[in-house]
């Protein structure tokens, strides 16, 4: 494995589904997708619902296989479940019968890390996200934001070089969302994994990413790529005041809007300022 290998590489990837067991027609979810994520790079995938963004993450995690084309992780073809990446799913997917610390230790446990070290590493990250005092609470006793923090540190605690995140902040309220975005930037800068980040939120994509890939409607193809050159570390809470933000936002929104417009019949006089 050469050091110059991209962390993740998609090469002419196609993915077709049979949505239901008796569906007559397969659905083409991804069409000719090619892109790379470099080591330490934060890449966001944005695009209309159902455009196959999440499918891309499942492909890197090896939970599903491409119908054609090649998905590589660190220069090696992904085949079967890829335990060398971290995957933060949309639902927090915490085990309800395990306490917070038990959940954070889960990956380390599966990886055979001895108990004292598990405890130490879990506690360290629980501290970083301000959850000390809640280690022995069960998931249903935690708020949505706390559960989300738990599911993020649970994945980051075992230090993979690639982290996949599928709309991790989707269901949260606006304030918690921004706070967690800032915490994520903070956590990411500690170990600098490559991140593939799926989101609908363009502000979030700009605030966090080095690069943003815009997908078209289904079948998802890559419409455009944007480089986000805002200096780091970024002030997430005032990201929209950063010079260069609005131009980028407007360009992204124009792309997305064209895709939404293509999916739905245009309404007479509809106009986005």
């Amino acid at each position: 494995m050469s050091t110059s290998a991209p962390a993740v590489r998609f090469q002419s990837v196609y993915k077709a589904f049979i949505a239901r067991e008796r569906a007559a027609q397969p659905i083409l979810a991804l069409e000719d997708i090619s892109f790379v994520a470099n080591p330490g790079e934060f890449v966001s995938l944005v695009g209309p619902s159902g455009c196959g963004k999440s499918t891309c993450l499942n492909l890197v995690a090896g939970l599903t296989a491409p119908s054609a084309g090649l998905v590589e992780h660190q220069g090696a073809r992904v085949s079967g479940v890829n335990t060398k990446v971290g995957y933060i799913t949309q639902d927090d997917n915490l085990l309800p019968w395990r306490s917070l610390v038990g959940n954070v230790e889960l990956g380390l446990e599966f990886r055979g890390v001895p108990a004292p070290e598990r405890r130490r590493r879990a506690r360290e990250l629980i501290d970083v996200v301000g959850l000390i005092g809640f280690e022995h609470h069960y998931p249903h006793e935690l708020s949505g934001g706390m559960r989300k923090r738990a599911s993020i540190v649970r994945t980051l605690v075992y230090d993979t070089d690639v982290v996949l995140m599928d709309e991790p902040f989707g269901p949260l309220d606006a304030q918690t969302r921004v706070i967690l975005q800032a915490e994520l930037q903070n956590l990411w800068q500690r170990s600098r994994p490559s991140v593939l980040f799926v989101t609908h939120d363009l502000v979030e994509a700009i605030a966090l990413s080095d690069r943003i890939i815009v997908f078209t409607n289904r079948p998802g193809t890559i419409k455009r790529e944007y480089r986000v050159d805002l200096p780091r570390p970024r002030d997430i809470f005032h990201i929209h005041e950063t010079p260069g933000f609005s131009d980028l936002y407007d360009a992204l929104w124009a792309d997305i809007r064209a895709e939404i417009g293509a999916a739905h019949a245009p309404v007479a006089g509809e106009r986005i300022a």
Binding site: A61, G86, T89, W97, H140, H238
Partner: protein, 299 residues
Amino acid sequence: MGLGNGARVTAVGERIALPRPPADAAVRVLEDTLTRRQATLRARRRTVWLARLGILVGVIVAWELSSGTLVRTFFVSRPEAVAARLVEWTLNGDLFWHGQFTLTATFIGYMVGALAAILLAWPLGLMPRAYRVAEPYILLAYSIPAVALGPVFILWFGLELLPKIILAAYFVFFVVFINTVAGFRQVPRGLIDVSLVMGASRAALFRTVILPSAVPYVLAALRATLPAAMIGAVVGEFIASNRGLGYLASAAASEYETDGVIAAAFVMAVIVLALTVLLRPLGRVTRWQRGVDVSEGSL
């Protein structure tokens, strides 16, 4: 405003730390709220029990008044006759002597049925394709009215305890089986996927994800089926027996002693009720299950 980076962000996170201790006035408000709440709950509990008692008394009074006036006593007996029968059976030891056989068949049948169900559901719940093969046969077996099979069981297994145990086990088996399979199959796909990506081996996946997720389903079924075991045992005694509470009822019925039938049915109902209450904690054993929704049987 340099808010937003590094340590500052963590400081924002501290908003979710435990709340500060409240001032005196607030403490009083909290205490009053608690006291009022407890009083309300006590009053509510008292009302519920009074209503229950009222219904019981109402039914007995209505029974007493209608027997011999609206309905012939021959059909419905009278409360005092049933009570007298219960006292008689208690004093002469019939109740305990017959009861022990019914309870023995109930417990052994329950254990056998539940154990067999779990041991069979375990592999089938984990192998969806094998389950699909087996499913129609299991549903077919479940659809057989067990009462209809009773006489055959007597033929095969004799007149003693064995056919009663088997009937009791039969009544337990399917509910536990179906619930256990459901428990293994309902494990959210997301939990399994995330665990696999985290590096779980098959054994670790089973131990840390699938089994704990299925346990509440199994416990709910175990709780719901103890009364069913007793019904199975009593059905067996009804078909052919010379002892047991079911025999006591059927013997009274063959003599047209309505009070005996009602007394025996009453004893069985009380036992089932007691067993149900006794097993109630089995449905919710641990703290994590509070707030977790587990669908369960009707009991």
